[in-house]
Amino acid sequence: MGSAPSDGTADGLLTPFKIVVAGGFGVGKTTLVSAISEIRPLRTEESLTQVSVGVDDLTGVAGKTTTTVAMDFGRISMGTRLVLYLFGTPGQDRFWFMWDDLSYGALGAVVLADTRRLGDCFPSVDYFERRQLPFIVAINVFDGAPRYDTEDVRIALDLDPNVPAMLCDARQRASVKDVLISLVQHVLAAGPIDGHQAAHDPGVVGRPGPAG
């Protein structure tokens, strides 16, 4: 499989895909991304007017002061043209506005969950459901954390029956590989998306703003 030429993409030209890795703060997103991909240093810089309203006094300097945040960013090259990029979402709510930017044109998302703080992944699940971006839930099995059946987690998260949920160890490359495979299978199983969503993709996000 995979050797048959695909129209328009078998000419050796770079064909990137993007997967978003989401979940609460400290759930293991950085660990997951680094377990399977070549980590690249990427920083993003955002205006303090967006990230810390009410924290920093910006009187007179609104829009001029910025802060730098590191992003989890990794790449997996498959042959010469297929490249899979992993982007971790910022773990803190104050970077919520970046999610639209990260999710734009994404293949799908992995929501990483910790059974000790399951509630932390509610916002991620809500976000991808609203955005109709295919996602799977990967329960990161921490040492010493209570073991739950994936079915219990599904119920606790009120997951749609077709959303896959699985256990994983974000430190283990093989385990993370299984998670990504499950996600791509999930996207494939959903089949082609509706025609009305198949608008021309200009590769331009437009102005990223607060996601509300």
């Binding site: 990427l42 001029k64 730098t68 490359r173 993709d201 996000v205």
Partner: protein, 129 residues
């Protein structure tokens, strides 16, 4: 990248605040906020030396990095500058037709049987890791 290494002091970042490189601009020209995995390339011949001399060192470095097609995220990582700054600088070059955004090779969310074929290749690639 080397040039910046000399100026980095621990966690403090470069001495020159990043948006000084954009002349204080935080919004990309023409509202061209490029997708993280948009593929960009500098088409055609390298600009004349006189033309290059009009560009900032950062713009020139971007042109060098885009000699072969690359994603915005990779270019930003290679520049060792925050994404927002790189997007502003790239938009300048897009406006001047020095860099073009290539059409997506395949839709991330499959729309055609071709898209599904490419996704199956991604699946095979993952299995082979």
């Amino acid at each position: 990248m080397r040039r910046y290494d000399r100026w980095i002091d621990g966690e403090a970042g470069p001495v020159v605040r990043p948006y000084a490189l954009t002349g204080g601009r935080t919004d990309p020209a023409g509202n061209t906020v490029l997708d993280l995995i948009a593929v960009i390339v500098a088409p055609g011949p390298t600009p004349e030396p006189a033309e290059l001399a009009k560009l900032s060192p950062e713009h020139r470095k971007l042109l060098r990095l885009c000699q072969t097609p690359a994603t915005v995220a990779d270019v930003a990582a290679d520049m060792a500058l925050p994404l927002g700054v790189v997007r502003v600088l790239l938009a300048d070059l897009v406006q001047q037709d020095k860099i073009v955004v290539l059409p997506r090779r395949a839709a991330a969310r499959p729309r055609t049987s071709t898209d599904l074929d490419v996704l199956r290749e991604v699946l095979d690639g993952l299995r082979a890791l």
